[in-house]
Symmetry: C2
DNA sequence: GTTGATTTGTTCGACATCGTACTAAATAGT
DNA sequence: ACTATTTAGTACGATGTCGAACAAATCAAC
């Protein structure tokens, strides 16, 4: 009986991996967004979070690259954040083509509140994996991500 | 100096994890879709793949649940597959409300070709992780996914 | 300096995703 | 049997995502 149900070895393994990643992404996104107010969506939060972790004043293009999304998508996300008063878009004094994205006090406050409201969800699932396992998973995924990133031309 | 940049311990760890997962999902999706013909999109492939791995003749609702997407999204995905002749939608003889999704020969052929065209991409990144690491990552993510799944209500 | 190429960001159009409201079929309660 | 509830699927509208085309600023080459 020919092996038609199974994908050849290695490729199949990565299919499985990306499939799990896709489903977890789906699940985490859905439960994140359920906690966020009205029209806020995961990328809104993620951008704010990134601006705090890394640094304020990044350009839209830098942000688009950090998240591996097209710059048009980032434009849209930033427009939503600006409309809600969570970021300020100032033009870059060093390069009039580009802009800088700065967090407002409201933006920082929003992040704190979002995190607080999300923590219970994290707590609920945190018994599935040990802290060591989560840490290990992160470093492994970071390695994979960087490899994938450098592979795209 | 107060700790405003760092998210409290555990929650921050999961943020990082989900963040990496999100980016990898982004990257894998983009490179998958680049290989697929015209208007085909990742969910199209994923559904076909699932029908082969598990079994033909699933109902749309079963598929929606398997991928954790709303049933309206699955309706849309299946409509695309049917339009392209990759699946047949027959009405369920046991329950006139529901339908069954059956793969066509063209659907199976499409999957084989898609996998073949994707393999080079997998090969290119496969040196980042050992097979054992990928396997370990999968089992860990499966555990997480199942926990998240059982946690939603 | 002037011209052509590159970079940054936006607008626009196409399409995917998903919540709401609906129809039809099945099931439960009486 | 009859009605109410539940379940499967769809139509529709709102919004997110993203590729193509564009405008403005910068850079490179001469």
């Amino acid at each position: 009986m020919p092996d038609t149900n199974t994908v050849p070895n290695l490729t199949g393994l990565y299919f499985e991996l990306f499939n799990e990643i896709g489903i977890i992404n789906q699940l985490s996104r859905t439960s994140f967004e359920a906690r966020l107010p009205d029209g806020m969506v995961l990328p809104h939060f993620t951008v704010i979070n990134h601006l705090i972790r890394v640094q304020d004043g990044q350009t839209p293009l830098q942000l688009a690259r950090a998240f591996q999304v097209p710059k048009t998508s980032m434009t849209h996300t930033l427009a939503g954040l600006e409309k809600r008063g969570f970021v300020d878009m100032r033009s870059n004094p060093d390069d009039a083509r580009s802009k800088q994205v700065w967090l407002t006090a409201a933006g920082r406050k929003f992040r704190q509140e979002a995190i607080a409201s999300l923590s219970p969800d994290v707590a609920e699932i945190s018994d599935a994996l040990s802290v060591e396992e989560v840490t290990a998973a992160i470093s492994l995924l970071v390695r994979l991500r960087k490899r994938m990133d450098s592979a795209r031309d």
